[in-house]
Symmetry: C2
Subunit: 333 residues, 2 copies
């Protein structure tokens, strides 16, 4: 599946189609990241919020609600909620990963300090709960508070499973659902709930978000071994240096001979990495074709996301969501 | 006001009076801190939850609800919510403060790592929102999400104001409301709301919690310069070493001569501390009587808390809450 003109930027086209809503969401985000007493809060938040993130998650909420014909304004509160949860997660992730870059710019923990990243993240979490409370809808609050718990649980699981070569693809999927897909699926699900969708429609939106999130994360894992630094906004090999067991590596460990197994034990489990190890890792992934295998998985998840849309109302939004699923994996296709 | 037999342990007597509720709260805390996938979560949480904290905040929620004659079980969910928010805050505080001790034991960030403290804290925040959502009461969700935002804002404010000698008593009060009193007042307020109290009653419960929290924090600040390590569960002078502008210091800075001002600038603003500086700081506080002045403030807040109770139903719970206000300041009286 090649990237051609029509599918090149489904995200931008979706954003253009829903520009009025997204403008309101942007205004909400800007208003709610203010703090009367602590100017450090909007400083740190703005650094991330204005770093040219694509607002993918809030766009999913808006699109889901509009797809089902929603005419109110509560979907905007939920979209801002989702973006705040995402931003809070990024701030805390960078502390946990000791990152130095985020979206191609120095990370907040580097520009300010870990303390500010932790506390401003907490502030944004609290703000996100204030925002969702304003909808007065208990069901969306249940969904979003559950998603927040799954996200944190996934992060802790990743922390403890990170350097363990016994990590299976099943555990990987659990981690990915936590760290990425849970917020995607919550974003689409609450859009459906606030629009008063049927159970079947809400479930379809959940499935679409879940599949999209998993495809998105697998692509991210692939790019970490095969992308260009300027494209991915971070350095190639970061996951390897951070000893993360991502899908291409998990698949390679499963197919490793004794020599390769010793290599993964030294570099990932023990963290004893030397000059040339990243090249050797990439050679091993190439030999077993695990980048290709991971790519096939990503494509399958994208296809699953596309087919989940079948039970939802036809039209431009549904078409763009389908194209989005393809576009997410087109980066590695 | 001396500590005598009758008022010695109002907290324990309140806990005994409400033992059935508190047992249920304990069970809830234990169930909800579990994680199917990430055993690190209950490990870290249990370290704090079982460290002999007094469960003061959940007790306030239970007492407030029962004081107004509440007969349901939702106050238990709210009490567990409040304790989870508190525990999450402690975990993140220890990362921010780079603490090595908490409640007289090694802190979680020392036993595990900062990463675990950040992420388990996030998990407990999310859990707290799940718990409060189960009450189905929009008003308590508004109160508790607001309190969470005020807490985080207060922490950020403390971070940025921490080494600034221009910090006034007014800013101090704002920080204290954020870091301590906001959760106390939310704890009592939601107890009143869930019990269906009148506006006057709910306001009285809020005022009581607010005053108790402020008194509690001022006492904490005083003990940091005058307590014994075994009593306060941390080291005397920690606040000085961490360059925190607490009430005794703020009052001393306001009364400082040129020499003293230079001393505070060097030790607090610049953080250039030498052998003997803590002793000199304590001597300056003594000369200006600012420990005594801070003590007088704490006593005044305790009295304000006591008098806020006047509009609430008489009885054993109200009496114990009044004694609790006195007891909190009795540690320094």
């Amino acid at each position: 599946m090649g990237v051609n003109e029509t599918v090149a930027k489904p995200l931008d086209r979706l954003a253009a189609l829903l520009a009025e809503d997204m403008g309101a969401v942007d205004a909400l985000i800007r208003t709610r990241m203010e703090s009367r007493h602590a100017p450090r809060i909007p400083e740190v938040t703005a650094h991330l919020v204005e770093a040219g993130g694509k607002r993918l998650r809030p766009l999913l909420t808006i699109a889901a609600a509009r797809l089902l014909g929603y005419r109110g304004a509560h979907h905007q509160l939920l979209a801002a909620t989702v973006e705040f949860i995402h931003t809070a997660t990024l701030l805390h992730d960078d502390v946990v990963d000791e990152s130095r870059q985020r979206r191609g710019r120095p990370s907040a923990n580097l520009l300010w300090d870990n303390k500010s990243s932790v506390l401003v993240g907490d502030y944004l979490f609290a703000r996100s709960f204030q925002l969702m409370t304003e909808t007065g809808n208990m069901r969306v609050m249940g969904i979003l508070s559950n998603a927040s718990a799954v996200i944190a649980e996934g992060e802790v699981l990743q922390l403890t499973a990170a350097q363990d070569l016994r990590t299976t693809e099943e555990i990987y999927l659990q981690v990915v659902r936590g760290k990425t897909a849970a917020l995607f699926s919550a974003a689409t699900e609450v859009g459906g709930v606030i629009a008063g969708g049927t159970d079947v429609q809400v479930r379809a939106l959940y499935d679409y978000g879940d599949a999209l999130g998993i495809a998105f994360q697998i692509v991210d894992d692939i790019l970490d071994y095969s992308g260009a630094t300027e494209t991915i906004g971070k350095n190639v090999g970061d996951d390897f240096r951070e000893r993360k067991l991502t899908l291409p590596v998990i698949k390679a460990v499963a197919r490793a001979d004794a020599d390769e197994r010793a290599f993964w034990q030294r570099t990932i489990e023990k963290g004893d990495q030397q000059e040339g190890d990243l090249d050797r890792a990439m050679a091993i992934l190439g030999r077993h074709g695990t980048i290709d295998a991971a790519r096939a998985d990503a494509l399958a998840w994208a296809a699953r996301g596309r087919s989940a849309l079948a039970s939802l109302p036809e039209g431009e939004i549904r078409e763009l969501l389908a194209e989005l699923a393809d576009f997410v994996v087109a980066r590695v296709a």
